[in-house]
């Protein structure tokens, strides 16, 4: 078991506040790591730092043992799939064009792309008839599946998901959660998943990373978090979430 991504002493400060204090984290190959925490806890900052949407103030981030730099990131991004809420689809492109965008950009052959597309439609259970539709003509769940196909198109080593199911209604959400988990298992995919929902974190997470106030508070299984909380915040967070899910 080796780390695919490794953060060493990474920190990020904005003008008025520290978004992420000096942080170390390893994301293990083939596992799903879930980042969880309240809003403003730094989980989105950490997430954005990995794909280099923002630059760290200090420390280094390694991918496959090599440091990520502004020079290497453009190529590296093609080995990372990225899905956000609502799928982040481009509204002026059809579902098909969204999915194939990057493959076309790097000049993959038409046959190869078609083959992969069919495979992905099957994997994500997305009807191929809908591929010619524009995002606005698709439901939220369908858009999310297209977003996932786009992220998986180049068979990435790492899949990043930022609250991918946040905007969906509970039924769609449940069915997508199930599908996602199956897909991750089938592909033996290394996944970094950001959510603020503990139930979802528990459902997906081989490893849960709880964040608060720009720091990683505790890392481990949900049992660890529940039974051996590192500090009072961990218990508070878990209990609060349990309370919500009970009502």
């Amino acid at each position: 078991m080796s780390a695919l991504v490794k953060l060493v002493d990474v920190s990020k400060r904005y003008a008025d506040a520290t978004a992420l204090h000096s942080t170390n984290l390893s994301i293990e190959r083939g596992k799903t790591t879930v980042l969880i925490g309240p809003s403003g806890s730094g989980k989105s900052t950490l997430f954005r730092l990995i794909i280099r949407l923002i630059e760290p103030d200090s420390g280094s981030i390694e991918f496959n043992g090599e440091p990520i730099t502004p020079d290497t990131i453009v190529k590296l991004r093609r080995r990372i799939g990225y899905v956000i809420q609502e799928g982040g689809l481009f509204p002026h492109l059809t579902a098909r064009a969204n999915v194939l965008l990057m493959a076309r950009h790097i000049g993959k052959s038409e046959e190869e792309m078609q083959g992969k597309l069919v495979e992905l439609c099957g994997l994500t259970r997305f009807s191929a008839n809908l591929l010619s539709r524009y995002p606005v003509e698709l439901s939220g769940g369908q858009r999310q599946r297209v977003g996932l196909m786009r992220a998986l198109m180049l068979s990435p080593e790492l899949l990043l998901l930022d609250e991918p199911l946040g905007a969906l209604d509970p039924l769609v959400r449940a069915s997508l959660q199930k599908d996602l988990k199956e897909i991750f298992a089938r592909l033996q995919q290394t996944v970094l998943f950001v959510t603020h929902d503990l139930a979802e974190a528990v459902y997906f997470g081989d490893e849960i990373v709880l964040m608060n106030d720009g720091r990683i508070v505790q890392k481990g299984s949900v049992t660890d978090l529940r039974e051996k909380p590192a500090d009072p915040f961990v218990s508070e967070f878990i209990n609060a979430q349990r309370g919500v899910s009970l009502t």
Binding site: L53, V74, K75, R77, I84, F90
Partner: protein
Amino acid sequence: MKALRSILAGRPRTESDRHLARRGRPSGPSPAFLLLFAAVVSTHATPVIIGSKKFTESYVLGEIARRALNDTGIAAEHRQGMGGTIILWQALQGGQIDAYPEYTGTIAQEILKNGQQLSFQQIRDALAKLGVGMTEPLGFNNTYALVMRRSEAQRLGIRTISDLRKHPKLRIGFTHEFLDRQDGWHPLRERYGLPQQSVIGIDHALGYAALANGSIDIKDAYSTDAKIEENDLVVLEDDLQFFPKYDAVFLFRSSLAPDSINALRRLEGTLDEKRMIHLNMEAERTKNYTSAANLYFQDNGRSASFADESFPHKLARWTLRHLELAGFSLLLSVIIGIPLGIVASRGGWIGQAILGFASIVQTIPSLALLALLVPLPFFGISVRTAIAALFLYGLLPIVRNTASGLQDIPRSSWESAVALGLSPFTRLWEIYLPMASRPILSGIKTSAVINVGTATLAALIGAGGLGEPILSGLNLNDHVTILQGAIPAALLALLVQWLFDVLDRVLIPKGLRI
């Protein structure tokens, strides 16, 4: 700016204003052809030498003569600004020059030194005895004149020099030369019985400044002085014919070849005062006497061809020119406005500066913008100036809409495009610009409609278009002529609007229209 002022003052525009725009169009055979032609046909062993005196008008006339000769295949050279009357006259007699521009009054007074009033024919006969020929008058009389501010003259109802008798309080500033001359202030006062007491001597150029700021009310001038138009002055009519005539002519050696003489004679009666003032203005503005002289030839060519044009033909010409002005300026606005908008969308002080500049340009009244551009070296009174002004006006809607359209793209889309690994250019070209296509196109549409409307003002600087009939109509107080320009301009604006609505459907991606 000078021509503009004259237009703003409500004077009817000269034929030349209107045709200035065609400066770029060749009005005759190509120079290369002319050169060849000259080489083959010219049997003159030596070129004809034209002289000129040391002031703007003489330079321009000398250039016109040179070109008139060249255009008929005669080699000619122009020795510019050789000096004063006596030097030129002696050079002509000595054979160092073959011809030069002169004024009948000067010939009578300074060359023939005849105190009496000589008729034109008497002058010609006297010159002939000296071996010098003279053309008929070129068409303008550059005599001494008294000038006033137009506003003041209108307020007091002064039109002629005689009218000055009723206004003894007016302050006068004359050049020292005019105060002393035999045909200057003292005999003038005697002839008209002028009562003014406040008379000072002042330098010619300073006198114009004094007149402009109201320190004096009346000064002397040459009647074709470019400053008259520039400072919006009126020439008081010499109703008692006090000033001698200073008709411009060309003097030439009687031994000059007949075809050269004929070339000079073709200039007779072709230059009225307005036209000469205009050429002087252009020469003083550009400091390029050749180009000012070239204007003379372009105007001539075109006056004839447009004299009896049918209305549909005129309308087509106006409309085409109008579309040319609006279309070309719009194209420039798009080509430059979109990149500027892209830069501006990133914010920062550069973005602020770009948007600030475009906004400020928009607040400048269009007349003022034209007036600001005309004195610049590259522009002047030309189509270029009109297109530049329209381009600047078209900039803001495009820059602003491009910038805000890009800024309005949701952060998730920006980040998705980056995170996918698309190159910066691909992100811009395939993602951001298409996503912002609706506001960008609507900015272009706004610019297009503004340009079609504003392009009517191009006629003010002789750039043509549908503003031409509007302006002529305003000058002539002729509503039909105004409508001949106004209605097509309005229809054109509607057409442009409709065209862009169609274009929206083609250019805005379907996914953004559902």
